[in-house]
Subunit: 353 residues, 2 copies
Amino acid sequence: MDRYDLALIGFGGVNRALAELIRDRGERLRSELGFDLRIVAITDLRLGSLMQADGIDVAQVLAMRAGESFAGLVGGDAEARNEYVIRNSTADIVVEATFTNPLDGQPAVSHVTWALESGKHVTTTNKGPIALAGAGLKSLAAEYGVRFEYEGSVLSGTPILRFAKQQLAGAGLTAVEGILNGTSNYVLGRMEAGLSLADAVAEAQGLGYAEADPTADIEGSDVQLKVVILANELLGANLTTADVERVGISVVSAEDIVAAATQGKRWKLIGSARRLPDGTVTGRVAPVAVAADHPLQGISGATNAVKFETELLGDVTVSGPGAGRVETAYALLSDIIAIDSSVRSGLVATSAV
Amino acid sequence: MDRYDLALIGFGGVNRALAELIRDRGERLRSELGFDLRIVAITDLRLGSLMQADGIDVAQVLAMRAGESFAGLVGGDAEARNEYVIRNSTADIVVEATFTNPLDGQPAVSHVTWALESGKHVTTTNKGPIALAGAGLKSLAAEYGVRFEYEGSVLSGTPILRFAKQQLAGAGLTAVEGILNGTSNYVLGRMEAGLSLADAVAEAQGLGYAEADPTADIEGSDVQLKVVILANELLGANLTTADVERVGISVVSAEDIVAAATQGKRWKLIGSARRLPDGTVTGRVAPVAVAADHPLQGISGATNAVKFETELLGDVTVSGPGAGRVETAYALLSDIIAIDSSVRSGLVATSAV
């Protein structure tokens, strides 16, 4: 029986959901997957740091109340000593789930760097490191003989990156296009029902779908980061956000929506990456009035979807949740399963027993 | 550089398409996948048998005209000596692509058995062996330390079996439901456009979608075999076709279709397998009037789709082609990639160089 010791960096919704999975489904995961998961370190801006090499009592930590800190616990500290914990904890895998910084990816890029440099595998749901520093971090992982996994960076738990890399290998992938942001998709749906953009955004905020500042969702910069990831990961490109043209849904008017409906079309915010005949790869984010026979037209609300265009198979589409704390925590678990699979096949070393 | 030598059993549309892929994309597959493919044996009811341990000239064989036989070639024979070729060829992998016998799976079950017994990996697109003799063949593969792969048995090249087993591992799969037959889906779509069942079937036959005897498509027995495969492979059941209740689309009348449309619903032939709270798994094939918010409603024409219901991720749906000679040949290629991956990770032995 293998066991992987985890260090959780950031203890917000997603890493808490992962801790709950370990608390509630640990036995079942062990019997289904053949390995145990144990949390040996946690850091969090509000809670501080906690390191216990023989395993943290997950139920106790999850029961802590607002305002409490790790300072009162053995191995605890009121400060979030991220670098110290990442470099010095006994974890096999660092689970990075801090916020996405769309400008330079920090501090998550440093968290990932420290982890890889200290010989630890990394799983993250954070778009920043992979969209903004992916190539460097991947070489670092190769250099240190560890895995860097980030399935949750696009479509949260819906496993489209690994699907395309593994299940579509050899099929000749030429393009990827998708509905990659649930908030803007929800807002467009409510605008079809007659709401103004502002009212639809306010409703999405009330439901917890949209951030207080909805710009990244509405103006397409969230999708832009995901297009960079899709282009670079799946089409072998080397794009930056500056290479990806971006138009948000604020350009879509009530009249546009009515006009599309009369033709059986629906407006969707589409992120796409495409290999051109000359081999170059282009990326784009823009609202598109999608026809009824398009596989993305029926994707409503908070659901996300990606259509893969291939030479041998034609079009294959995967749809599923694009957000949610448990769904996103599942992305971390799926990364850990991939790490385990590499460890078992001898592709990477392991410090796990 | 690894190389896999193949024996093709049956040289109809699908195995011809695989041979064309090797002829036309061999170089590219080698650079993308890291292995070479070489055909060393072919058997076919009309053409006979051909064994050439140093590699068959694929272009020459593909250029043979109707009425020619392998008898005129070195290593050739006018008779399809399936057992002799499967047991004695130097192939690493036997590619079984003969017709599906829905009663007992023969002769494909014997083909697979002979291949596994002689230490050869098997890939097949044939539903028969896996739906009707899957458990026995899987133990045989385990006993001989070889792989038995059959991604193309459901949804042809759209890789849903491996997607569910690998990418949804640990997510808690509870149910699978899908549009698993393109012909019946096409026919229902044409009935929505006003055609009678008989006229829609005749049209599908004219387009090459439906067989001369369309019963297996229209009355759901094709889907029934696929439900057995989904239930047994993905939900750990041990169903036979007799356990799967089956109702075909012939019960759907023009009035039913109009009535559904007035409620925004569309009739689809749904194959499903579901784990009940007591742990038992049930399978069913029946036409269902599907609502607009259901991910299968928008799946039209020859496209197939499967919705996976999971505990951690909610619903995830994959749609793509469910037929086609190149698409189905891709399923064989994806099986060979999976075999290669097992060989590389040391999970199975290989006689390949």
